[in-house]
């Protein structure tokens, strides 16, 4: 999976979910908590990504870094680690 696609989709959804109104505020080094994204927001993001990329997200394999950090989240998703393709 291409990281550029993953990142593009993620940024679009972060705006759609009202976590941020301006894409300029989004960078790979940003933490999800800096946007005010709690666990419900994270679930919404993951579900949207699962639908878009037709995969099942491996919750059990999520690392602390991947679930808290935009860049690491994109790396995790793009690497395909544990993703089940539908």
């Amino acid at each position: 999976m291409d990281k550029h696609d993953v990142k593009g989709f993620l940024y679009e959804k972060l705006i759609e979910l009202d976590l941020v109104s301006d894409s300029d505020a989004l960078k790979e080094i940003v933490y999800f908590s800096d946007l005010g994204a709690d666990s419900i927001a994270m679930l919404n993001i993951v579900v949207l990504m699962e639908e878009e990329f037709k995969v099942v997200f491996p919750d059990e394999q999520l690392t602390f870094e991947a679930i808290n950090h935009i860049g690491k989240f994109c790396d995790f998703f793009a690497s395909g680690t544990g993703l089940i393709h539908g």
């Binding site: 979910l17 009202d18 976590l19 941020v20 109104s21 301006d22 505020a25 999800f32 908590s33 800096d34 946007l35 005010g36 994204a37 709690d38 666990s39 419900i40 927001a41 994270m42 679930l43 919404n44 993951v46 919750d59 059990e60 999520l62 690392t63 602390f64 679930i67 808290n68």
Partner: protein, 345 residues
Amino acid sequence: MLKCIVWDLDNTILDGVLIEDSSVKLRDGIKDILELIHEKKVLQTIVSKNDKNQALSRLKDLDIIDYFIYPQINWNPKSKSIKRIIDNLHFKAEDVLFLDDQLYELDEVQNTYEDVKTFPSGNLTDMKEYIMVLLAELNPNTIDRIDLYRLEEKRLMDRERYFVTNKDFLLSCQMQVSISRARYNHIERIRELITRTNQLNLNKRDYSDNDLKWMIDSEQYGVLLADVKDRYGSYDVSGVLILNYTEGFIVELLIVSCRLLGKGVANALLDYGVQLAIRGQHNRIYVKYKKTPYNRPFLYLLLQCGFKKQEDSMFDPNFYLDLRPDSRLLPDWITIVHSEDKEVL
């Protein structure tokens, strides 16, 4: 159970198309239906492809604007607008009814949300009959949450208007979580939260009245309540934290009402448990998480907070966090305040 009715405007509430006739009138009999639904305490909103300012102005002139909360009037696909309502007001798709005269729009929504109920609005008599059937299924003792939804609408509108990030908005809300010990008179509310809450429910374990009474009286357990308010108003008692001190320091149950989804209150309650554990000089806090079809967000919460799974654990508790004196899980935008009951800490 029906909780939200989503109305189209053109040829559904209005007797024509607004963009073609700026003085379009209401359909005959529609105001009676709106009033009937309002009396049954079901939330009503609008999803319409129209010019927002023009539509809101016309609804005001027609004296029906107050029936609607969080209307979505834009040119987006209607499924997208309905998603916004479901996500932000925290409804389940199955609790929503969508009414529109265009079969295309009904299908478009149904294709995205197969659980959303849809009904064509072309024939007013048929539509009213269908609504009456759904209203008849409601519990007559349903609590009136319309005012709470109005407060939530104000929060959402402010967030959309004034803030770059959700965190900036949450910081502006001045949210306070007040923790107090539960007493017998809280048992009904605790049980209601256990029954009604699915997403932010640690394990969906149920407790009888006697279980709760016993835990409230026991020194081996802490049954704590969270009363949440912000600058917009109060959410009342919306969270429960049950701690078990019998073997180590264990979070037995943690529940946060769905009205507080997305506000970090579960993190605050978990942090409260962490601070109590640190004061009690525990090195580790355990959590009894049990996966259910709905509580995936709780797993994410634990992972976000750095909890680790006990790989060899066949039994509860199954997650733990090693504590340091400075361990903190409290979101920046929440302040914990203590009730007059000093025994809590």
